[in-house]
Amino acid sequence: MIPTDWLGPQEWQAVRLSLRVAAVATLAGLPPAVAVAWLLARRRFPGHGLLSGIVHLPLILPPVVTGYLLLVTFGTQGPVGSLLKPLGIVFAFRWTGAALACGIMSFPLMVRAIRLGFEAVDPKLEQAAATLGAPRAWIFVTVTLPLILPAILAGATLGFAKAMGEFGATITFVSNIPGQTQTLPSAIYALLQVPSGDAAALRLVLVSVVIAMGAVLVSEWLAWRMTARMNGRAEGRA
């Protein structure tokens, strides 16, 4: 039994918010990550290198720079932010902004993992499917995607872990408002700024370690099950 007063209400709030932000960032980022990974792995087109560069930019830029660029672009005065505001979509200083920042920061990691998956799929299997009459989109859904599922899972786990830990871009873009934009790392940072916060900070650090380990273990287990199924060890009676 975990005593509920083990963490204060504000700390619980940070944990819940972080989980929500990371989940939304991962789920929303996954489809475009699959699309971009496919483009980079399977297509040769003018601007291939440029696209790869742009996707990897958040990995290389100081997170503060990414956060500032987001603020300039998606802030209420920014070119995109001012367009979206009449539609009721606001990112600045909202949890949605934190999710956007985390999504952008974890995007390159997801793309890299999924791209490796695409590169490992033998195109000969897709060719075989084509000779059997299946249209391309159907081949993608029934052959390619199932075969890269372990890579997608790895990308999602990596992205989720990155989103859970994202700090620099988030705090620059949406600040550190308890209950609104204060994610786990921002809460830890805030606690470390006050003299009495060490113990609470340590508890939150523990929580992050547990969540990160849990995510990795679950994805490892799922990947193991998928490989086992494919190799026929877990004799599946369909």
């Binding site: 084509a130 000779t131 059997l132 299946a134 199924r229 494919m230 004799e235 599946g236 369909a238």
Partner: protein, 351 residues
């Protein structure tokens, strides 16, 4: 009828392939790297040749204006590496084409029955042996309702025991399913056992194409199938069974005796007589253990390979004998020489 004529340039190899494949099994034969696989990729629509024309039963698959997708070509492919979908059961693999190729699903029971696939249906490709995988791949290709079956070295990745296991299925396929088959191989025994037509390829070019029997009896072409494979394929009809169990058959050159086989009178056979199983004599020899002695006429001498005519006039058939150059000289063999062919052994192929 498959009509193929295309050119394609690779760095280091330029292909200029042209041949026709009538019904039956057409073997595309040649050494590794001669362009056989490229040719079948072009036929299946997996590679776009630089130029040419490919048509199947009058339907244009590829020319200057048309380039049908693999999906639209209706060519079933069996690849050397089977290419089964590893994440699906055997049953799901076999049913994969049925969504897109109508008419394929109704053959499911017949084809799984013919290839004895029922016990494998619930297994995954990862648990199958190499031979089983190829059988499933053959079944899946047949269930895609193809107008032509293309097999790219389907036995090359298997050991001898597995090859022997698959071979009878391929023969059944040839004999039971009225489907033209293009069979790519660099193995002489496979070609001899399966093919009705042979296309010989070398370094990106078709050297010769024609019926197997004609190639085997041609002293220039037969060595391409390997020196030991030169020989003739002659027609024979079963006449009667002798009291001692030997079977007497009629050939263009007269009667021959075959060891006790279960053959009915009137049955048509093809006899394969290898060139190195034939001994030539200028005068009728006596006191031989060999039973079959045929009168022949030399038509052509190529090194030690002697081309012979068996029988007279329009009914004659070609035969080959492998002798040494010294014997050619000693026996004064030249076109027109009449001599006797002593046949040491014969293999019988059903007609």
């Amino acid at each position: 009828m498959l009509e193929v004529a295309f050119r394609h340039d690779f760095p280091g190899l330029s292909l200029d392939v042209a041949f026709q494949a009538p019904g039956g099994v057409t073997a595309l034969f040649g050494p590794s790297g001669c362009g056989k696989s490229t040719a079948i990729n072009a036929i299946a629509g997996l590679l776009r040749p630089d130029q040419g024309r490919i048509a199947l039963d009058g339907r244009v698959l590829f020319d200057g204006r048309t380039n049908l997708s693999p999906q639209a070509r209706r060519i079933g492919c069996v690849f050397q590496d089977a290419r089964l979908f590893p994440h699906m059961t055997v049953a799901a693999n076999l049913r994969y084409p049925s969504r897109w190729r109508r008419g394929a699903a109704r053959d499911f029971d017949r084809i799984t029955g013919m290839l004895a696939l029922e016990p494998l249906l619930h297994r995954r490709p990862g648990t199958l042996s190499g031979g089983e995988r190829q059988r499933v791949a053959i079944g899946r290709a047949l269930l895609s309702d193809p107008a032509l079956l293309v097999m790219d070295e389907p036995l090359a990745a298997l050991d001898e025991a597995r090859k022997a296991e698959i071979m009878p299925w391929l023969e059944r396929l040839r004999d039971e399913i009225r489907l033209p088959i293009l069979y790519v191989s660099h193995s002489v025994p496979e070609v001899l056992r399966l093919a009705t037509t042979v296309v010989l390829m070398r370094q990106g070019r078709v050297v010769h194409s024609g019926p197997l029997a004609a190639i085997l009896a041609d002293p220039e072409l037969a060595p391409q199938l390997g020196a030991r494979e030169a020989g003739a394929l002659i027609r024979a009809t079963v006449e009667a069974r002798e009291p001692d169990g030997m079977v007497r058959v009629a050939t263009a050159g007269g009667p021959m005796l075959l060891p006790g086989l279960d053959l009915a009178p009137g049955q048509a056979l093809r006899l394969r007589i290898l060139a190195h199983e034939v001994i030539l004599a200028r005068e009728a020899p006596r006191g031989l253990s060999a039973l079959n002695l045929l009168p022949v006429t030399v038509t052509c001498v190529e090194g030690g390979l002697v081309q012979l005519a068996l029988g007279q006039g329009a009914q004659h058939e070609r035969m080959l004998a492998q002798v040494t150059l010294r014997s050619v000289k000693a026996l004064e063999l030249q076109p027109g020489t009449a001599c006797h062919a002593i046949v040491k052994s014969v293999s019988v192929l059903p007609s």
